[in-house]
Symmetry: C2
DNA sequence: AATTTCATGTAACCAGTTACATGATTCA
DNA sequence: TGAATCATGTAACTGGTTACATGAAATT
């Protein structure tokens, strides 16, 4: 839906995007995309219009309805939870991109600030787990946990860097 | 199955592990765990035995069969693909832990070496995508891509550090 | 002329989520 | 004694995967 918001497009376009870009964990199969578009349309969040109706190769181009816009904004404004960061960071990234595009720079900064704080709060949790697996002499699990800690550290660094950059732009447009 | 390999355990134990540890993207719901155990048992990869049969609270404790052991080893020996690293790094981490525990340090090092190479090969791909989104003036998508690049850099650093550590242990056991 | 790409979909299969259900045991 | 935990499962719903199907338009 975020994709359709950015630019009205067809199911085929969406499949293309999932195939070619690094939006991981999303499937480009028509069996996933077309039913999903249908569901969103039935929920009234997007609406499809047929392009090139007269020609022999029509396209269903979807665009976001006002109700869909409201829903999307509401979704993007939801606070970032511990679950969000523990499960899929790439989902959070997608959310960040849409937050920036739909709600603007201010909100994107707000979101990243929240995100960085949530990450900071999560790292000690992982450290506790690391202490436990070290006690239990599970070396490989320990390495994997260190991996997680490093990942989240990189995560926080990135967020703070982007926040700084966005705020610089604000000062100097 | 990897969990059952490490130590024979029940469905409840597995649910507990998923709940308490940072094995993301795995569900702790009984509706997922018990059918999965059943499937593995029907495939002959694990076998369950009833503990405390006489008591009023029996437990089905599963252990890996020889066929399951073969299957697991074969799975762990499979080369790491571009898809593996692009989709879910946490799955790769799980695989690393089991590789270390089941196949030993040598294989763990081999796997990490492969992994680091695959990551190195993936980063330029992301950089190309970054160049494209910069051309198209998509700032937020650009920040998200930079995030991905940073993540994979941290990934490669971690892998090389762990490789070095494991090789040190080898020299000096 | 043949292959690839555009463009849309359907259907069978598989698997996860949520919620419900049951009952014993342990702990406060 | 009541609440939490141990322990196992089922059922309805949801949604994704794989594969099949169709046919026009563009490319080689």
């Amino acid at each position: 839906m975020g994709l359709v918001r950015q630019q009205p497009q067809s199911g085929y376009d969406i499949m293309k995007t999932f195939e070619t870009t690094a939006i991981s964990s999303y499937s480009s199969s028509p069996g996933a995309v077309y039913p999903a578009l249908r569901r969103l349309e039935e929920a009234g969040l997007i609406a499809g219009e047929v392009e090139n109706r007269d020609s022999l190769r029509p396209r269903q181009v979807y665009h976001v309805t006002p109700a869909g816009e409201r829903e999307l904004r509401q979704y993007l404004l939801q606070p970032i939870t511990r679950e969000d960061i523990a499960k899929n960071t790439s989902d959070v990234m997608l959310r960040f991109v849409f937050t920036g595009n739909v709600l603007g720079r201010r909100e994107a900064v707000r979101m990243l600030t929240q995100y960085a704080q949530a990450v900071d709060a999560y790292i000690p949790e992982l450290k506790r787990q690391l202490a436990i697996v070290r006690q239990e002499a599970l070396p490989y699990a320990g390495h994997a946990l260190e991996h997680g800690i490093e990942q989240y550290r990189a995560e926080a660094r990135w967020a703070r860097r982007v926040i700084a950059r966005l705020q610089d732009e604000e000062d100097d447009p």
